[in-house]
Symmetry: C2
Subunit: 311 residues, 2 copies
């Protein structure tokens, strides 16, 4: 159930990382953009077409290396509805290639509204008795500030369609402590409290390998908190951003893992997407450069984590 | 600047309310749906076309009564990219009709990613030197759990394009207290702390009428907290959900207002959208029923708030 499919894919590929698909136009080789603009114009549709083609080629090159991809909604939404169509087509293509898709939307709302988000990104949308797929990811990042009313609709959809979620707990950014690190009267921090809520919510989505379908986002940039939370949240799988460009190293992210090499999946976006620019290789080789970087990242992390096995 | 245009529209129409455009298929009269399905099929495009036509007729009927509309992203996103196109076309139509548009997306992220959301919903998207409008709302609801890194990109876009935002502070739902009501070591609640952050962030977006461009979402279902926050956050304009269907009355929401009848805008969605079903009037009259309910709501609230004037 839930995040079990992700865990199985991690074990199969011996790779606890996820490639972030955050395609900025500046990352995309000119030959792809020019072709898209020639066809659709220098507009939102042209940009969205370039994004999609870039993603497809990346997915082709990465699909036997990484277990999962994580498209960040914002980079599609900024191109309006054509961008959202590119998001849907990216997700669909990634799933065809056997990848687990984590849609990074950090969505949050309550009741029927959160049900609508859950239907959009994880479940199906009903139109006069027809069940239709709007975006179709396998897991969704969510923000738990509104409490259980904002999470229950997601776990209900996850339970029905074998999907999962990741709740923001301790984010990787510099100002994450402004709110998250504040201590409550009992001495616990806000992020630790949110983590405990994840454990509670997770009871509704038990998994086969000890981890529930309610994961948590915990940044690689705070290794001490990552270590602390790995201990205090034994059933909560972590999505770990902040490796690489944001400053977290393999020794830092290693704190997120358990003795079986499970418990976390580490994201890298920019380093993979821009590998061809960093390597200064031919633009035509961008996808192979991304693959080389994804392999390097895998090897770097596995060196610290060891072999990954099911419990 | 910022939320000043909303404030001016509220004074002009002597109406401190906003009509929530949360169009569920069950709310839409059959004659609209059948026409849309006949044209596009019983699929996401057909549903999205029905949403848009429903919204257009509502906007026509409401545009001289209410100062603003608030489309809830989730109800568009659940219909995939055609739904997002209906969202964009709804926003565009509402603006043509002179309405202020609050896009209820509760978006949150950090740095360049949050910039992308801000560009999507409030600013413009650059494609090879062309500046294009993705969704084009006037204000966006956001979630501040990630701290200043998640809000700065929004206030920068707001400052440039004369837009505003509403940060979730104390939400209207039953479980909002699970996290938001917890007390920090100093004795302040989390929601009060988030409120103080709004006051600080608002210093970057000062307004002409005493309220900054950084508003707060505070639910009508918690009148005591609404009263407390109105006092402690003198520069923060409130978006107040929870009136009507969720249980908040006019006497409750009145706590959100200042001596000039300013300081808050009260949302109603379901009561307006479903007025024709409640009245059991002809389906063809749904938009006029919505208008009657919007007028009733305005009168109910203004009775408690009094005449609204600029300071």
């Amino acid at each position: 159930m839930s995040l079990d499919r992700l865990i199985e894919a991690i074990v199969e590929k011996q790779n606890p990382t996820v490639a972030g698909l955050d395609p900025k136009l500046g990352y995309i080789p000119s030959f792809i953009k020019e072709e898209a603009y020639a066809r659709y114009g220098k507009n939102l549709e042209g940009a969205a077409a370039a994004l999609l083609e870039y993603n497809r080629r990346l997915i082709d090159a990465l699909c036997d290396v990484v277990p999962a991809v994580k498209p960040q909604c914002a980079y599609y939404e900024m191109y309006g509805w054509p961008g959202m169509r590119a998001l849907q087509e990216t997700i669909s293509y990634a799933k065809e290639k056997g990848l687990f898709v984590i849609t990074d939307g950090k969505r949050n709302d309550i009741g029927a509204t959160m049900e609508a988000y859950a239907a959009a990104h994880l479940g199906l949308t009903e139109v006069e008795g027809e069940s239709l797929c709007a975006f179709g990811g396998d897991a969704l990042t969510v923000n738990g500030y509104l409490g259980t009313d904002g999470i229950r609709p997601v776990w209900e959809v996850c339970s029905r369609w074998d999907k999962g979620m990741f709740v923001l707990v301790k984010t990787s950014n510099e100002s994450s402590g402004e709110l998250q690190n504040q201590e409550l009267e009992g001495g616990e921090t806000i992020y630790a409290t949110m983590g405990q809520l994840c454990e509670q919510w997770g009871e509704h989505l038990p998994g086969r390998y000890g981890y529930s379908g309610v994961g948590a986002v915990v940044g690689a940039t705070y290794p001490q908190q990552l270590q602390e939370l790995r201990k205090s949240l034994p059933h909560t799988f972590f999505l770990v951003p902040g490796y690489g460009a944001q400053g977290g190293g393999a020794a830092d992210v290693a704190w997120g893992f358990d003795a079986n090499g499970l418990g976390a999946v580490v994201n890298s976006s920019r380093a993979i997407l821009c590998a061809w620019q960093k390597e200064q290789c031919r633009a035509e080789d961008f996808a192979q450069a991304a693959r080389r970087e994804a392999e390097r990242m895998r090897d770097d992390i596995v060196r610290h984590v060891g072999a990954i096995r099911l419990p």
